[in-house]
């Protein structure tokens, strides 16, 4: 056999036949037969009427009655034909079968006999008996349904009420979010940020309680959960850090330091869900730690400007005239209602968020040391510090590496940048609105961070956009770097006026440049173009740009002065070569004949034209025609 033989197991099915199926789905099996029952069953199968006396001569069983006479008369003859009994039996079987066959043929053929069902009388209707029977059955049905309904009601009531199961389920939910531990009989939880890297001295431990069923059984309990938490008293209430940047004329506004500002915060109600209570307490702890860290830094670190810590407020000057105030507002619900100050404090959400992020970063650095984590060396060194050895860094470089910034320094930097950015924005926008002649267009870059932003300014004259002056301003923490048109850079301080003066100066230069471009258009020759000319009086800021143009024929000379302080001036000199008398041989062309002469100033305001460039354009066109 090629295929391996498979063992086939044959066994009798041990299933007992099903006697009945109850209404609730339970099956009732026929009980298996005991040994004695099985024996009697088998005994019943034996045919005791079978004729065996001829064969074996054994006395028949009790059921068969054979007369003694018959027994005597018919002696046992063993020599008789052995198949006699068989023949008799077959004969009788034949007779029986023929009878059966006859009956069946009669029934089938229907020639001589027909079978007809006998109509039976309908049983007598006993109405009252029937009703009683029906009632009984209905009653039993009702009972079954009632028991089912009762069971469902009970389960529903259990779900609603505060039982042990509900508490456990709530506890499971609590464990998913918070760390719990069991101390003797009480369950305590941890609210602090210690596992996240915080080193704050204050820890928060809350206790988990079961809400006791004080109400009577019948009352509808309106408690949301069967679990309640008890927050430590110092973390009760709601807290947040209020960050405000305000401009004060004096150096530090001390009057505002004494004002406590518990703004209208909603206190946490006692009925609140435990998650909400825990989250609020968690936030209170975080704000406390943040404020404690800031206060410590404000006192210890010697910065360029002194910081003032008064109660729950930290005040520091970011710029002269600008003050940053950080207040820890903790509203526990037990204070008296304080009238809010008339000026609603402007809370700077961005800086508050930055503070939160900075503290989280400190926590993170406490826990996550940068890899590698060697066994023999110190943990927590940055990659640069680890490479300092192999790269043989000098002492200076190592000292530089140890400088790290505190949270307060970082937030002050961010505030400075924010203030500087807003102020620059205002200056540029105001100038753009008020100045119609060259148009200033500002594009602020989308890519910026909390310490640096950039803006691209374009100065153009309407209808003469071929010449445009681009400026890129990179606004840093306390200075502005400018990239000029030619690619040079200069640095401006944080003063507003400096930026305004600078932009005015750039506008003047733009005018001068436009006049040069016009010369190209009209075919005039540029005799000189000086960006920072030394003529005239010294201005308070900026320099004068001058352009001198000569007409194609050389008999009209245009001198343009553009100064940020004194404005633009245009002078024209018409030269009449025919009037010149003594022309020396050194003078080769007519245009060199009269370089000196009277310049007459042109009243720019009365010229026709939309803007300065347009006016000069018109004038040049006319002068070209005239000459």
């Amino acid at each position: 056999m090629a295929a391996p033989s498979v063992n086939v197991c044959v066994e009798a099915a041990l299933e007992n036949p099903i006697q009945e199926v109850k209404y609730d789905g339970q099956e009732v099996y026929v009980a298996p037969l005991t040994m004695s029952e099985n024996l009697s069953k088998l005994a019943h199968k034996i045919n005791f009427f079978k004729d065996e006396s001829e064969e074996k001569g054994k006395p028949t069983s009790e059921g068969e009655r054979e007369t003694d006479e018959e027994k005597v008369l018919a002696p046992f003859q063993p020599s008789l034909w052995p198949w006699d009994s068989v023949r008799n039996k077959l004969k009788s079987a034949l007779t029986e079968i023929s009878v059966l066959y006859d009956v069946l043929s009669i029934v089938k053929e229907k020639h001589y006999m027909v079978t007809d069902p006998v109509s039976q009388d309908a049983p007598e209707l006993k109405a009252p008996l029937q009703m009683i029977a029906k009632k009984k059955s209905l009653v039993s049905v009702c009972q079954i349904l009632n028991t089912g309904a009762d069971r469902l009601k009970r389960v529903q009531a259990e779900m609603d009420s505060n039982t042990q199961d509900n508490f456990l389920w709530e506890l499971l939910q609590l464990r998913k979010n918070w760390r719990l531990k069991k101390v003797h009989n009480t369950i305590l939880g941890e609210l602090s940020y210690k596992s996240a890297g915080s080193r704050f001295w204050q820890g928060g431990t809350f206790e988990v309680l079961k809400t006791s069923d004080l109400a009577a059984e019948g009352d509808v309990t309106n408690k949301k959960s069967s679990l309640d938490v008890s927050i430590p008293s110092e973390l009760e209430g709601v807290a947040y850090i209020q960050v405000e940047v305000k401009s004060v004329p004096d150096l530090i506004d001390l009057t505002s330091a004494t004002l406590k500002m518990p703004a209208s915060l909603g206190a946490v109600s006692a009925d609140a869900y435990w998650q909400q209570k825990l989250e609020t307490a968690h936030n209170v702890l975080f704000c406390k730690e943040l404020f404690a860290q800031l206060a410590r830094e404000a006192v210890q670190i010697k910065g360029s400007t002194p910081h003032l810590v008064v109660g729950n407020q930290i005040l520091t000057n970011v710029f002269p005239g600008f003050q940053l105030s950080i207040v820890l507002c903790h509203y526990t619900g037990k204070e008296k209602k304080v009238n809010l100050s008339p000026t609603k404090p402007e809370h700077n959400h961005v800086l508050e968020h930055s503070l939160h992020q900075l503290l989280r970063k400190v926590h993170d650095n406490n826990l996550n040391t940068s890899p590698p984590h060697p066994v023999n060396s110190m943990l927590g060194m940055t990659k640069r510090r680890r490479l300092a050895g192999p790269q043989a860094m000098s002492r200076q470089e190592l000292v530089q590496m140890t400088h790290s910034e505190s949270i307060l320094e970082q937030i002050v930097k961010q505030t400075r940048h924010a203030v500087l950015r807003i102020r620059s924005m205002n200056v540029i926008d105001q100038l753009a609105i008020t100045m119609q002649d060259p148009q200033i267009c500002a594009h602020w870059s989308c890519l910026n961070n909390s310490l640096e932003s950039s803006v691209r300014l374009t100065i153009t004259s309407y209808c003469f956009e071929a010449n445009r002056t681009p400026l890129i301003l990179i606004i840093g923490i306390d200075n502005i770097r400018v990239i000029l048109r030619e690619g040079g850079t200069c640095v401006l301080s944080f003063e507003e006026n400096e930026l305004r003066d600078f932009l005015q100066w750039q506008i003047c230069q733009h005018h001068a440049q436009s006049v040069q471009t016009l010369a190209k258009l009209h075919g005039w020759q540029v005799l000189s173009a000086i960006v920072s000319s030394g003529h005239g009086d010294i201005e308070t800021y900026g320099t004068t740009s001058t352009v001198m143009l000569a007409s194609p024929k050389g008999n009209v000379i245009l001198a343009f002065h553009s100064s940020p302080v004194n404005g633009s001036k245009l002078s024209v000199k018409k030269v009449d070569t025919s009037l010149e008398s003594n022309i020396s041989p050194a003078v080769t062309a007519a245009k060199w004949a009269s370089l000196a002469g009277e310049f007459k100033e042109v009243n720019l305001s009365q010229l026709e034209g939309r803007n300065l460039t347009g006016k000069i354009d018109m004038l040049m066109a006319r002068l070209t025609v005239l000459s």
Partner: protein
């Protein structure tokens, strides 16, 4: 990192090392140098135990690079490592044993003269003074060939004709980017010459 040149200033007969150091320091101060702390460069030697001929390993430290440790073999191969390397060498006790009485160091004042850093150190081997080493570092440059002339001028004004030529270990590498390991090689050369001079001087006594 700048370019450094180390020279050994010969101590004339009749003068003590301390006097020479004093004189040099006065000269530097006259030039305009400002005192900027102390410095120390030390060298320990280890000898291999099993190899024949025995190999030598020198471990140098420089206060200018406090986080680093320099290991130099006698073939000239250098390794710049973190200071934990010292601990590692202790584990190699069975293979490299420290040579007794071979610790040599150069200690002294450090002067800052605008872009230059001048170090005048007195060399001591086993407690006794052996000589004077002058190191001049020009911080802005990283290639020795570019600034050799400038350094030569300053060196000659300080120590005279000793600085006629660049140091022998630096000569072949004038055009390469300068690394602190090259400074240590120069120091090692001087330390070795001091050691041999001391060894030679001893049997004469």
């Amino acid at each position: 990192m700048g370019v450094s040149c180390v020279y050994s200033y010969p101590v004339p007969e009749g003068r003590s090392g301390a006097q020479v150091v004093e004189v040099l320091q006065k000269q530097v101060e006259t030039l305009g140098g400002i005192k900027a702390g102390n410095f120390i460069v030390d060298c320990e030697t280890y000898q291999s135990v099993m190899l024949n001929p025995p190999k030598t390993l020198h471990i140098l430290h420089n206060s200018e690079h406090p986080a680093s440790c320099f290991a130099i073999l006698d073939s000239g191969a250098t390794l710049v490592a973190d200071t934990l390397f010292n601990g590692l060498v202790l584990y190699l006790k069975n293979f490299y044993q420290a040579r007794k009485g071979a610790k040599i160091e150069s200690k002294g004042q450090r002067f800052q003269l605008s872009d230059f850093v001048l170090k005048i150190g007195s060399v001591s081997l086993a407690g006794s003074m052996k000589g004077v080493l002058v190191e001049v570092e020009y911080c802005p440059s990283v290639v020795a060939a570019d600034c050799w002339n400038l350094m030569k001028e300053l060196l000659q004004s300080l120590i005279g004709n000793v600085a006629e030529n660049p140091p022998p270990s630096l000569k072949p590498k004038m055009d390469e980017t300068y690394t602190p390991a090259m400074t240590m090689l120069q120091y090692l050369d001087h330390f070795n010459s001091f050691r041999t001079a001391a060894a030679m001087g001893q049997p004469l006594r």
